[in-house]
């Protein structure tokens, strides 16, 4: 066996250039497979971790996915608003343990602004039932106070005490800025890896103030007057509910969906998340299929390389046979070569993967909000690696079997 290993190594080394190319083909296909797989699983985890321990999300009547998208992911726009009275009534149902009202529609320099109350900081949970943490500062108390997500703070360079202004709508390019009428950052949330990081949080009263014709270009006096006025919200966009008992979720959901005062939709976040993910699963499956085919192409490349070399190596095989090598040695020689090339390809592919993840993780995190961890190889990935290695070995059987038959047929005759 030592002899076979040595011969395999020396033989591959002799054909370095083509062997290296083959190794890189396998490496790149492995990189693609593992990379796609890792981004897929991490995106899924990251996705499922966006919201936790919330039993129902309620919005104006619309599709479940749409409601989930705008209330949790801040993607898209609500179809309609909910009357404040309806919210108050439903939030005071006996089964309800806590509620978080949210009001969307404004933006600050490309980040969504969300109006809510301080219950948000107490009850909203993400990941594995993790509550929001303050990196610095505290929840808002005054009308002009704002709490920003970690990503907003980092991207815009805000700290506690920074003054910011908000704009109605998504773009605030044409909005006049006045340094004497800003909101003040009073708190910065710790990073969560969810859309919370990209949100500017205001009190509902502040949102109401913005919408009730408050002119931010007004004088300091106007600002004082505003602060003293009591803004009672008339409408909100959605609200989240935590129940005392999970068993009541379905009955309350039905009750809300049949709410007589206005058409509402209540969704269970877990189910809606699952729905949303399964919508994306076709793309996900396609991506996986493509990377699987790339692996197949890589291994076929190796096969053609091995078969081509076989013709040149007939002489080598006859010499080895004359020296007393058994047909099974010839067989082992080629299987070992295929295995070595595949194993080297896999190792390089894995190294490339970590190199790429380390470089790309910050970019992916800031662009897409998906946190890619540099985790060690998971059992699932080990399985994929094993499949590819096994595939490489099996592919090696084809030239091995041919060499075996050739060496039996050629015997002591050297064919060139």
């Amino acid at each position: 066996m030592k002899t076979i290993a040595l011969l395999t190594w020396k033989s591959i080394n002799n054909r370095r250039a083509s062997a290296l190319l083959t190794v890189f083909t396998v490496a790149i296909s492995m990189l693609l497979l593992l990379g796609v797989e890792r981004i897929r699983t991490q995106a899924k985890d990251s996705f499922a971790n966006t919201i936790s321990n919330t039993d129902l999300i309620v919005g104006a009547r619309s599709g479940e996915v749409n409601l989930l998208l705008y209330s949790v992911f801040r993607i898209g726009n609500p179809t309609n608003n909910i009357d404040w009275q309806s919210y108050q009534q439903l939030a005071s149902e006996a089964e309800v343990k806590w509620s978080i009202p949210i009001s969307l529609g404004d933006s600050h320099r490309g980040f969504r602004v969300m109006g809510t109350n301080t219950d948000y900081f107490r009850f909203y949970q993400y990941g594995n039932k993790q509550a929001l943490q303050f990196d610095s500062g505290q929840p808002f108390a005054q009308l002009f106070d704002t709490v920003i997500g970690a990503h907003v703070a980092r991207k815009l360079g805000y700290t506690v005490g920074s003054k910011i202004i908000t704009a109605h709508g998504i773009s605030d390019k044409f909005f006049p800025r006045h340094d004497n009428l800003p909101f003040k950052v009073v708190g910065i949330l710790a990073a969560t890896g969810t859309p919370v990081d990209k949100t500017v949080h205001l009190s509902l009263a502040a949102i109401e103030a913005l919408h009730s014709g408050w002119n931010p270009a007004g004088s300091t006096n106007a600002r004082k007057k505003q602060q003293q006025a009591n803004f009672q919200p008339e409408q909100i966009t959605a609200f989240m509910l935590g129940l005392k008992s999970k068993i009541k979720t379905f009955s309350l959901q039905r009750k809300i969906n049949n709410y007589p005062r206005e058409p509402l939709t209540a969704i269970m976040p877990g189910i809606a998340l699952h729905q949303l993910w399964s919508m994306m699963s076709i793309a996900e499956q396609a991506l996986l299929a493509i990377s699987a085919f790339v692996v197949v192409a890589g291994l076929l490349g190796m096969l053609s390389c091995l078969l081509t070399s076989l013709q040149e190596r007939r002489r080598e095989m006859a010499i080895l046979r004359a020296m007393g090598a058994r047909p099974k040695h010839i067989f082992a020689l080629l299987v070992a070569e295929a295995t070595l090339i595949t194993a080297a390809g896999i190792s390089i592919g894995v190294c490339l993967l970590y190199l790429l993840l380390a470089t790309a993780a910050p970019v992916i995190s800031s662009r897409f909000g998906i946190n890619i961890e540099l985790a060690s190889i998971s059992p699932h990935e080990l399985k994929l690696i094993a499949i590819v290695l096994f595939g490489g070995m099996s592919i090696g059987l084809i030239p091995a079997f041919r060499a075996y038959r050739q060496s039996l047929a050629d015997g002591m005759t050297i064919r060139i």
Partner: protein, 229 residues
């Protein structure tokens, strides 16, 4: 003592007529035999039979060193070949990616018997053998593909002789050499076979080499199926 005895040896390639039919043939230990065999006389078939690569038809007998080859399993024949036979091809004897010394020591990798005989210092043994075959230290350090054909054939002789196998089979080893080199090569080969006590079977279609050997046979004379010229 006979090193080789063939009795009633027949062989036919699958779905073909007999290509070997030797009633009786024997070879004395230490003899240097010249087998004249033009193409078509069954030369490669005979060599494949002697080395145990192929199996003779039932009822045949190939007794080599007292061992009945026809009774051995494939694996045992491979082992027998590795242990007792040194083989020299017509040309392209060497494995291009191994060094001269590694090429010479290759049989020892497949035969413990031969490895044991050079166990004390295999590389020195190989070097000694190569020097006796008139290869200089700088030749030995050269990659095999950069050696001349004559040098390559001498490396092949060293490889056949390493670990002193009892039988050396040379299949037209000098046909790629020019005339002057040819005689020198054969003399060296004979000399080294002599000093290691090996029996030599030398196959060639060149009758001019015949006088150099102890004994000469025309393959068609012993093989009744061979094509007569």
């Amino acid at each position: 003592m006979n090193i080789l005895e063939l009795d009633n040896l027949t062989y036919s390639w699958p779905k073909q007529q007999l290509s070997i039919d030797i009633q009786h043939f024997s070879l004395l230990q230490g003899q240097k035999l010249f087998i004249k065999g033009p193409s078509g006389s069954g030369k490669s078939t005979l060599l494949n039979l002697l080395t145990g690569i192929i199996v003779a038809n039932p009822g045949s007998s190939i007794k080599l060193l007292g061992q009945q080859l026809c009774e051995l399993s494939g694996a045992d024949r491979d082992k027998f070949r590795a242990d007792h036979i040194g083989y020299i091809f017509q040309q392209f004897n060497l494995i291009p990616y191994l060094s001269v010394i590694e090429n010479v020591l290759l049989p020892c990798r497949f035969s413990d018997t031969r490895a044991d005989k050079v166990a004390t210092a295999p590389r020195q043994q190989a070097r000694k053998l190569l020097r006796k075959l008139k290869l200089s230290d700088s030749d030995i350090a050269t990659p095999v593909s950069a050696l001349s054909i004559g040098q390559q054939q001498r490396v092949a002789v060293a490889r056949a002789l390493i670990g002193s196998p009892e039988l050396i089979i040379a299949d037209e080893p000098s046909s790629a050499l020019d005339h002057d080199n040819r005689s020198a090569f054969i003399e060296l080969l004979m000399q080294e076979c002599q000093s290691s006590g090996a029996t030599l079977i030398f196959v060639s279609h060149d009758p001019s080499l015949e006088p150099l050997f102890d004994r000469s046979v025309l393959l068609q004379d012993i093989n009744r199926q061979g094509i007569r010229p």
